[in-house]
Every structure is written in C-alpha cells, then in structure tokens.
C-alpha cells in the first residue's frame, strides 16, 4: 500500500495533523512536509506505482514521468516557500488549506488515472477557496464564492468529460487525446477555466487579490500551473491552443497597465505569461514542451516572489494600491530589492531564470515558422516589461516622496523571498543544470552574444520609452479606480437577470413545494393505510388468502407461459 503512495498524499494527510501542533513545532512541521514530499518524489524515480482494481477499472495511483516530475518538484518548492512566507499566520485553517491544496495539486500531477485526477482536481478547488475565505471580510467571501463556483464548474465539466470518455473508450488512463469528441471538448473547457483562457480568466484577478497575504502567494503557484500541466498532458500539439494562447498573451496586458492595485497588476500579467505556456503546449514539439515545463517553473518562482513582495507591503502598510503608497523603498529596502529581482526575472533579464525559459518557447515558435505567434509573444514580453518589470518597482516601491515609516517585512517573509530569488537567479546563471530535469533531452545554448544583445535591446528600449512616457505625462496615471473586465457581464447585467429569475423561480418553487407537500402527504397517508400496522400488505394474512393468491398468480403465469 505504502509503496504506491502518491507523493501529494504526504502533504494532504500531513495537513490533518496540523491542528494538533502549535508554535515552533508547527512551524518546523509544516516546513518539513514539503521537504519530505520532495525527497520522496525523487526517491521513487520514474514509473507507475499502486495499481488498484476497483469495479472493473484499474486505477493507477501514482505515475511519475519526467514532465510530471518537473511540475511536482516546483510545486513542492512553492509549497515550502509559501508556507515559510506564511509562518506569521496563527490561523491553523490556512495552514491546513495550504497543505491540502498543494498536496492535491501535486497528487493531481502524479495521478495515473482519470478518477484520481478528477478527485484531486476538485480537492484543489475546494481547499484553495478556504485561502480566500480566510481573509474574513465580505468582499473576500463573495469573491471566494464566485471562485468556488467557477472552480467547481470546471470540476463538473471534467467529470462529465471523464464519464463520456470512459463510456466511449473504456479506458481510464491519463493519456493524450484528440480534440474532436464531445468528451475532449469538455476536458478542454475544464482545463481552460483553470488555465484562465481569455474570457474564462476573470476568477484570477477577481479572487487572488482578495485572499490573505500569504494565501495569494499560494494560490498563484498551483491552480493555473496544474491546468497548464493538464493541457500539456492531454492536448500537446493541438492547433487551437496556439490562437487561444496568442490572445491570452495580449489580452490582459492593457488591464495590467491600468491597474492600480499592485497584486491585481501581477495577477493580470501572470495571466499573460500563462499565454506563453499555452502557446508552447500548442506548438507541442519537444523543445516547446521543455519550454512549457521550464517556463511554468520559472513563472511560479517570479510570480510568487512578486506576490510576496507586494504582499509584504500590504502586510505592513495595509494597502497595496499605488495611489496610497509612498516611497516604500526607504523603509523596506530588502523587500524593494526582492521586488526588483522579481521584476528583472519577469523581464527575462540576462542571468535570470526567465531569460532561459522564455527563449525556449520563442525558439520553438521560430523553429515551427510561426512568425506571427512569435511577434505576439514578443509583444507580450515587451508589455510585461512595462506593466510589471518597470511599473511595479517604480510605482510601487520607488515612488518619490516621503518615507512612509513602515517596518521591514518579517524575517521569515524575507527568507522566503530570498529562497525564491536565489533559485531564480541560480537557474539564470546555470541554465544547463536546470535543463537536465526537463522532460526531454535538450541541446540549447542560452548565452549567445546575439541573444543577450537582442534581449537587452528589448529591455532598455522599452525602459527608455517608459521613462519618456512618464516624464512627459503620457503614461496613464494610476487612479483609485477599477477597470472593468469581462466579468462585468456576469457581475452586473447577468446578476440582475439572475436575481429576477431567482425571484421568479422562488415563487414557482414555493408553489411547487406546496403542491408536492400535498401530494406527498397523500402518498404517506395512503402508504400508512395499505402498508402500515393493520394495512392490507402488512397484516398476517390467513393461509386461505395466501393460497388464493398463489392460485391466481399461477393462473396468470400459465397464461403468460402459453
């Protein structure tokens, strides 16, 4: 039994013990779990374990291949960093939710059959919602409910897809599929919701900023990357993903530019970066899938890092809105430094991790002669330089003005950011070591002269234009406002419609309830009369009656038989 244990279960089951610990012991305990999980994952090696026969289907509890292992590894690291970052939290519910959520994501990655995949898929949805609820305010509660509804919808679609797929093919294994059948479309939409496809994306920007300071960090690491993994697993090389990805790269960048809330800004640009991975999956070559795995890993590193830095500001200043912040760097220099590192990474500055990972996907696109896609991605790369790479540090941390008199972030937060920074820069300096854990063998030189030069051109020209725009007041001023997104449709007119519909349904339902109460009441009375104590069917019948029944039915049988 223990042999086939899914590594994710270490975190999930370990979470159940958290409420029984406290203080220092709890800190050590929650940090130890991801380390043990990671160690266990690597000690298992590649292969599939724990085959279980249930009702005629084989479940493969654990299946580890190179692609899954990359995701599993970074998930463990993210869980560790996120937990370290959240050590100040005294609310065991958040620790439990974090561990279960991370464990479910890991377990989903290592699932070898569709039933397990679905179970963990739903578990991530439910456990992560608690990270949003944990903010304990009304806005967070509402956002959490919207989040939960959307996530569970994804799960239900997946379940429907699985049911159809198993009915058609009789096969429960996690394996690539062709887009075409109804089942495969259900899969794609279920994955698409979690990947935050354009128009299915609003839950990201809606929910993430409402979670707790540490909750957002955790949320950003798993759900969307798990979905990317699922896409890569099932739909690698599917052409439709190219165009979805291209739109996805471009679509959110304008909102990111306008956004006032630092965390929402990061959420939008993260969405755009997801587009790179979707395109990579769409290209589907070995180089592209390597790029997807690499970029997912790196993207978790810098997204977490940026959410941590902005979260630390929120934690100390009580706000993460550009308009409310002053010269943060003066009192929180280390946090500001980590924010700059995060920005450099997301810009793909040479010697940072994204410089290595992003170029894999770009090269894959060029190898496939997809120039338009390549230009779209390049545009996305420029945009991210603008709205995260420059905007976050300059507007969020290095604004001119008075010292805000804040305290530096707590040590464990700084430590968590440090861990991620070291990893992000370490990968940037030694990319070939990192490339070895990628799914496919790879021969790729990151640091060619032209690559460094072109990338520097990209960054410095963008910075120059950015500075000019700010200087000449052309840059949209951050305002204390919201920017409407697609979710307006379901949060305004659809809501009104739903409320009216709800009232109507309610009225109908009450009527129906009254009617059915009457009907059920009648049934119960009748049942009691006929089936109860002295009723026809319940009392001891005389043997004469019994024999007559036998004769009657014998007659009927004879008639039927002839």
């Amino acid at each position: 039994m223990i042999e086939g244990l899914n590594p994710g279960l270490i975190l999930i089951l370990g979470a159940l013990l958290v409420p029984f610990t406290s203080g220092f012991i709890r800190n050590i305990y929650v940090l130890a779990l991801p380390i043990i999980g990671l160690y266990y994952t690597w000690s298992l090696g590649l292969g599939s374990f724990g085959h279980v026969e249930i009702l005629g289907h084989t479940l493969i509890l654990t299946k580890i291949d190179a692609l899954a292992r990359v995701f599993g590894t970074i998930f463990h690291i993210a869980a560790f960093a996120g937990l370290l970052y959240g050590l100040h939290v005294k609310d065991p519910q958040q620790h439990v939710a974090t561990l279960i959520y991370a464990g479910a994501a890991i377990a989903a990655v290592f699932s070898g059959d569709l039933v397990s995949l679905f179970s963990y898929w739903e578990l991530t949805a439910i456990s992560s919602a608690f990270l949003i609820f944990a903010s304990r305010n009304e806005r967070a509660f509402n956002a959490g409910m919207r989040y939960l509804i959307i996530q569970v919808t994804s799960g239900v679609l997946l379940l429907a897809g699985i049911a159809l797929y198993v009915a058609q093919s009789g096969n429960m294994d996690v394996a690539p599929m062709e887009l075409g059948s109804a089942a495969s479309w259900l899969f794609l939409i279920a994955f698409g919701i979690k990947t935050a496809f354009p128009l299915l994306h609003n839950w990201v920007q809606d929910a993430y900023p409402q979670a707790t300071v540490s909750g957002t960090v955790i949320l950003s690491a798993f759900t969307t990357k798990l979905a990317v993994y699922a896409l890569a697993r099932f739909f690698a090389g599917e052409d439709i993903l190219l165009w979805i990805g291209a739109i996805m790269v471009i679509f959110p960048v304008f909102h990111a530019t306008l956004e006032n809330d630092l965390r929402r800004t990061v959420a939008y640009s993260m969405n755009s970066q997801q587009g790179f991975m979707v395109i990579g999956v769409g290209i589907g070559t070995e180089l592209a899938l390597n790029g997807v795995a690499a970029h997912a890993t790196v993207s978790i590193l810098y997204t977490c890092l940026l959410f941590m830095a902005t979260g630390a500001v929120l934690y100390r200043a009580g706000t993460a809105k550009i308009t409310d912040l002053g010269a943060v760097y003066k009192s929180m220099p280390l946090t500001a430094m980590f924010a700059v590192i995060g920005s450099l990474v997301i810009m793909a500055f040479p010697l940072t991790a994204a410089f290595a990972s992003k170029s894999l996907i770009l090269s894959a696109a060029l190898d496939g002669k997809m120039v338009i896609l390549w230009l779209a991605m390049l545009f996305g790369a420029v945009a991210v330089i603008d709205n995260v790479g420059l905007k976050i540090p300059l507007f969020g941390f290095f604004k001119p003005g008075e010292d805000m008199g804040l305290q530096e972030a707590p040590k464990h937060m700084l430590l968590a950011m440090g861990v991620l920074s070291v990893l992000a820069i370490g990968i940037g300096i030694f990319p070939s070591a990192f490339f070895q854990i990628l799914p496919y063998p790879i021969e790729y030189h990151v640091y060619t002269a032209s690559h460094v030069v072109t990338q520097l051109q990209l960054i410095i020209f963008a910075a120059l234009v950015f500075v000019c725009c700010v200087k000449f007041n052309m840059y949209p001023k951050p305002q204390d406002t919201l920017t409407l997104d697609f979710d307006w449709f379901y949060r305004k007119p659809l809501k009104k419609f739903a409320i009216n519909l709800g009232l109507l349904i309610n009225a109908g339902y009450l009527g129906f309830l009254r009617m059915s109460q009457a009907v059920i009441g009648w049934f119960i009375t009748k049942a009691r009369e006929t089936h109860g104590g002295q009723g026809l069917l319940s009392r001891t019948a005389a043997s004469g009656v019994a024999v007559s029944i036998v004769m009657l039915l014998f007659g009927v049988t004879l008639l039927l038989v002839y």
Binding site: V382, G405, A462, L464, C469
Partner: protein, 89 residues
C-alpha cells in the same frame, strides 16, 4: 524614526534622475550598436531566423513601438472601462 524621515536618498535629488535618464539613452545606443556593426561584419554575426530580424536594432524598435501601443491602447480603453473602486459593492 524622525531621523529617518529627514534623511535624503540618492533618488530624491533631481539631478540623479537626470543621470539615470542619460544613462539609459547611452545604454540604448550601446546595445543597438552591435547590430549596426554586424552589418559591416564587425564584432559578430547575427543568425536571424526571420526576415524582420535583419532590420538593425529590430528588437529595440519593436520594444519601443510595442510599449507605445500598450500605453496608448490602455489609455484609450481606460476612458471607457474605468469605474469607482466600490463599483461592485
């Protein structure tokens, strides 16, 4: 704490901002230079995959244009889509 408030940082001075701006321009010229030099076959050879990459300093120009597009489109749609913070509450 009060001491901290009075401390002036390097960035607070206007001339330092100017220095950064000039530094950026110099850096831009420096990174664009190799492309032009390579046209003359000096320093290194580029390996363009696509036609557009043959334009000198293509990446720089594309970045500058792209950024302008982002900012102007964002500014344009911002006019229609901006609402008060508590719009949904």
């Amino acid at each position: 704490m009060s001491e901290n408030m009075k401390k002036t940082y390097w960035l607070d001075k206007a001339e330092n901002k100017k220095k950064i701006f000039i530094g950026l321009i110099i850096a831009a010229i420096l990174v664009a230079l190799p492309d032009f030099l390579s046209l003359l076959g000096i320093l290194y050879e580029t390996h363009p995959y696509t036609k557009v990459e043959e334009i000198p300093a293509f990446y720089g120009i594309y970045a500058a244009l792209g950024l302008l597009v982002v900012i102007s489109v964002a500014g344009f749609i911002g006019r229609f889509l901006t609402v008060k913070e508590d719009y949904y509450d």
